[in-house]
Symmetry: C4
Subunit: 206 residues, 4 copies
């Protein structure tokens, strides 16, 4: 067990991973080719790739909200152990993977097999919510010193209460992807908004 001022590097490494994952999303938006543009015009070609924008916005909002909650958790823990590196690593694993299902969804949303892409996409989000849950359980049970538990008890309880909704709601999005792709993506967008709104102990409105 180590004191909390030593968590600088796990935070700066995580910040960089979140920042890169969120920035790489744009690479997957492809500039329309000249052949396509010759046929339909540049304006229409740019409108035509709206699934790319939708996937970009949804993934960006989700990663941003995860990052906000990540720094929230690390702001209240005050010791760390070996396991934290690997629970955190598991979360980062799924976060770094996001650009792939995002590109997949953008590519196949308008095609016959869009369901497979939506299942894959929401499945990764479900995996993220589960690994976030694991991380928070470990932190709340092991890494809040007695002192901190007293001082930050309300905040920890508030977080626990809110995070209970994560996995079931993402399971809902995942389940919905088998039925309706647009609806499952919409749920993911709304969930990002929901966790943005409620993502603070003092329940400030967004």
């Amino acid at each position: 067990m180590y004191e909390v001022n030593e968590t600088v590097r796990i935070e700066s490494f995580s910040d960089a991973v979140f920042a890169i994952a969120i920035t790489l999303l744009v690479i997957e938006i492809k500039v329309p080719g000249h052949e396509q543009v010759a046929k339909t015009g540049l304006l229409y070609s740019l409108i035509d790739i709206w699934p790319s924008y939708l996937a970009f916005v949804t993934s960006f909002a989700t990663v941003l909200v995860i990052w906000v909650h990540h720094q929230r958790i690390f702001a209240i823990l005050n010791k760390y152990d070996h396991k934290l590196f690997y629970y955190n690593g598991l979360l980062l694993f799924f976060v770094t993977f996001i650009p792939f299902p995002t590109a997949l969804l953008a590519e196949y949303l308008l095609y016959r097999e869009s369901k497979v892409a939506a299942i894959f996409y929401t499945g990764i989000f479900l995996a993220i919510s589960l690994s976030f849950d694991l991380l928070w359980r470990h932190v709340s049970k092991q890494l809040l010193s007695k002192n901190a538990i007293m001082l930050k008890k309300d905040e920890a309880l508030e977080i626990t209460k809110q995070y209970k909704f994560g996995p079931p709601l993402y399971l809902l999005a995942f389940g919905m992807s088998f039925v309706s792709e647009p609806l499952s993506i919409t749920i993911c967008l709304l969930l990002a908004l929901f966790f943005a709104l409620r993502g603070w102990p003092f329940k400030e409105p967004l």
Copy 2:
């Protein structure tokens, strides 16, 4: 509301996002293919992609100046709230998006439909100036403690005075893109210079 020493992570996350967005720009400059080089020679092929260099320089200068102003703002705020994460997130959203319109402009500047590319490009810059405006309004109204307002009043006033020019000037660039693409890009370049020159409270010359 939290004390300012806690803004480390929002700053380091933002720094990483700016750094990646500014560095990804180069990926969009494509090495000329062998076919093209066989026809015109490598030297001419490298000159031929000058729109890529122009778009790279303009976007680089703009992101650099935004970053300088971003750290300037965060250097004077001394508390933060939940909303700051999302105002900042909105700014970062448009910043991470920059490589796409940059690549679009580079690809289509010499083609018939360059106007669409220029409108898209200057439109993103307009969106950035608006989201920067939102961020600064929130900071200046909510996140300067009384104490800081006294000490840093001049700087805050100076910033407010300068930032008033942002949205209208970028609106001008956006409007101009409907008339003349080269002129609108030139305005964007000059605006980066303008905000670099005036971007400091003590009005030092660049």
Copy 3:
């Protein structure tokens, strides 16, 4: 020789390099093309690229574990010298290179010449374990002040003991790649687990 509080930048630079190398891995996983999908369906196309996932997981786990050990080493050193920059730079050189052999393995694992790809892949891991060994030897011999040696002697001994296994075990993986590709990749995965398990002075279980 400098005091340890000055190692902030070598740590933040290294953190960023690790974070980018680990996040770039996903770029090499290519979204299946429409032609392929038309033939076999999207689901099968996504299963078909399992070597990409395997290479991604193996490389991600390895880079994560290297990073954990890197911060472990930098947490116990308490001075630094000029050579540290270049020993560290040599390690980062191989780490930044990882996306290339990862992509190579993903591309050729199912083809006739998979052996060449596996040799290349495990060879880079061997080079990393050797450069890590060099870094640790330098740190343990030169950069632990007398004071620190007393306080952290057990930890340093523990690290030395564990790291002795690195090069020979990665040599084994490298040697095995000449015989069986799947076995050599499996060994790499198990080694990441082994160094995760043992990667802490107090021998906590993972």
Copy 4:
């Protein structure tokens, strides 16, 4: 003028830019295509792209050495002004650009017009050495407080003495690229070594 503890963000932003530029280099090394491999075998195909490795090593070594000197300079300055952001920005501009001439050199080194690629490549390195020179002149003249000048005079003199060699030596590499490409690349590699060897006030051997 601001106190030095405020340079955290310019350092962390620069660290991230250096880290990304150095890590993006590997993206330009392309996995050999199946057609090529079918003709010559995977092993030969991997040997065949040696210019990619050479360009990668040269650029990596150069960026690493620039970064080491960058942190060296920022470790001795103890105030900063507005201009520092833009001198530093100019240096970062050329650093972020490096992946392009690196890819260009890798692609055309074995072709008839390799001279153009080598001129472009060494030209960027010359530009970097000039912008580094500008940055150091500004720091050494404006940003060392009287106090610091006394304490760090030797180090500043030593740096000035060493940096005098930068622009003329890179001019030599640039000039040589008009005559012999291999020789000019070799000079660049040797210069990285030279600045690594001499890059420290106490003249420790590497």
